[in-house]
Amino acid sequence: MSTADLFETTTGSLRRRRAMTDRLVTGVIWAAFAATLVPLVWLLWVVVSKGLPSIDGNLLTHDMVQRLDPTTGKLQAGGGLEHALYGTLLVTLGAVAISVPIGLFTSIYLVEYGGRSRVARTITFLVDVMTGIPSIVAGLFGLALFTLIFGVGTRMGIMGSIALSLLMIPTVVRSAEEMMRLVPNDLREASYALGVPKWRTIVKVVIPTALGGIVTGVMLAISRVIGETAPLLVAVGAAEAVNRNLFDGRMMTLPVFIMTQYGTATPEGYDRAWAGALLLIAIVMVLNLTARLISLIFAPKTGR
């Protein structure tokens, strides 16, 4: 090669330099990809290896209330996260119950009624802006809303549901809107031609056709909010016992459980935090994968 180098013309060396730069950039980009995998793999590995040993029957069936242990005669915390599982389930269901109707009807408005009117454009813009609301601000909103009505110190599960739905609605609207726009206009017009009123066309033709995509969007939205901590910490607080009433007092949720157990700064606390983190990641991943699966099953057919 070195003899060849001597005969290189200026153009040749320029070409070589360009090729080198190209290869260098390609290398850098591959390296960046590899480097991004590092935290993901590292995090998953740490969570699984530290969380798995702590997950057992006791963890899943006990709360953290201190009870008298019959054998030792000492007060002992239950050492489980049953209450957090209930809380996460209920608060999230509450958020779904609020945000799915609002989100769905909003996207119906945007796709079927709004057109390019000023109202529709404003709503689209605000939905975009809403995507960027910091989660803790949503929590503060829930807190401010309810303390204004029920007085200072109010904490209820439903406050968390409202805060979460604030974060969920934009995701639901965007995905449902996108899916309904994919529904071919021919289907709508075929329905109109048969004398079917618009609203029945929407209910019986547009929504069923887009259903797969809408369900996927809702599930992705759930997986986005189910791990939210800050709004629940502020609006719902923490509890040690199972509370199955969304409208009565504090509730424990899985993310807040991880946070509080981490806050105890004891080995047992850390173990429980890791176990909770593993459960939470598992829930989120299952939701995510199910959503993708649903969209895989439905998407190609609605696209045609």
Binding site: V25, F33, T36, F105, V129, A144, I169, A230, P255
Partner: protein, 325 residues
């Protein structure tokens, strides 16, 4: 459910009620009700956003002018307090962006132009998985794993780059510093910036790319002279949306570092500047009602701040779209 049965639903006599003639009023009423509900839902969003602002303002208003002692030892009035917090918020976000932006663009390019086509989709999915990890898990990992592991690195930074104000010790013994918090934030921003810039890169007209290649450009030159100019506004918007995420993130910051509202450029000491969000999460339990109102007021400032950033991002993205038309 496949499309075929749904198509059949649109056919007469299937499920659409009597196909016979109906009075136009019954059509009209159903439609009016339905479109009314749809419009009301849309307006709910409008009202909700306004309500967020109004309620935070109502409940947080006394926080703008509370007793000086509420603002703690470091500040004497609201603007001093929130100014220090804004400094911390911005500092953490800047660290996050400095780390995240190069990686994100590289990753986006990787999935849009560099990766073998069969790999690109699974890789994009893996990056989306990063976005799905809850922030509290990131916080736990950052505080318990990354901070501990990176502590020697931070000591090294202090020893060799200590002349810079950023790494001027004393080094935190636990490693739980704003530098680590910023890196955790960066990892959380990467999926967002990557996802948006990937879409933007992909929208580069195929003809531009092929024209560049036909002129003898290498792949990098094609990216530099065809893809980047076309995507500039989208890239800016992606970064700003990532910034919005970094500004508002709470748990990762609150769990990684213990912080106080101070102004310092020192990234590796044990006294860290607090961010607005982490400060709320750390103090929301305070019994003192005055502190609650101050926190609500800082929340309002954060809301407006992120609103402005997102607004600017959407505006830039929209301008780019308009310019392309």
């Amino acid at each position: 459910m496949s499309t075929t049965p749904q198509l059949e639903q649109a056919e007469p006599g299937e499920d659409l009620g009597s196909p016979g003639p109906r009075s136009s009023t019954s059509y009209g009423r159903g439609d009016r009700l339905f479109s009314g509900t749809a419009l009301a839902s849309g307006l709910t969003i409008l009202v909700t956003l306004a309500a967020v602002f109004v309620f935070l303002l109502l409940k947080g208003f006394p926080g703008f002018s509370a007793d000086p002692d509420v603002y703690g030892p470091s500040a004497s009035n609201f603007w001093g307090y929130v100014g220090r917090l804004l400094f911390g918020t911005t500092l953490a976000a800047i660290i996050a962006l400095v780390v995240a932006v190069p990686f994100s663009f590289a990753l986006a390019l990787f999935t849009s132009h560099y990766a073998p086509r069969r790999l690109a989709a699974p890789i994009a999915y893996v990056i989306d998985l990063l976005a799905a990890v809850p922030s509290v898990v990131f916080g736990l990992w950052g505080a318990r794993t990354l901070a501990v592991t990176s502590q020697p690195v931070q000591r090294w930074l202090d020893a060799h780059l200590g002349f810079l104000p950023f790494f001027h010790g004393p080094v935190s013994a636990t490693g739980r510093t704003i530098l680590v918090a910023g890196i955790v934030l960066a990892i959380m921003c990467i999926p967002i910036i990557t996802a948006i810039s990937r879409e933007v890169f992909k929208q580069t007209p195929r003809l531009h790319e092929e024209a560049a290649l036909a002129l003898g450009a290498t792949r990098w030159e094609m990216v530099r002279y065809a893809v980047f100019p076309h995507s500039r506004s989208g890239m800016v918007a992606a970064v700003m949306l990532g910034l919005g995420r970094a500004l508002g993130e709470t748990m990762a910051v609150a769990m990684v570092m213990s912080s106080t509202p101070i102004v310092t450029l020192n990234l590796i000491s044990s006294t860290n500047p607090a961010t607005i969000a982490s400060n709320i999460a750390a103090n929301y339990k305070a019994e003192d009602n005055r502190i609650q109102t101050v926190l609500l007021a800082t929340g309002l400032v954060l809301f407006l701040f992120t609103f402005l950033v997102n607004f600017a991002a959407r505006y830039i993205a929209g301008r780019g779209e308009r310019a392309q038309r």
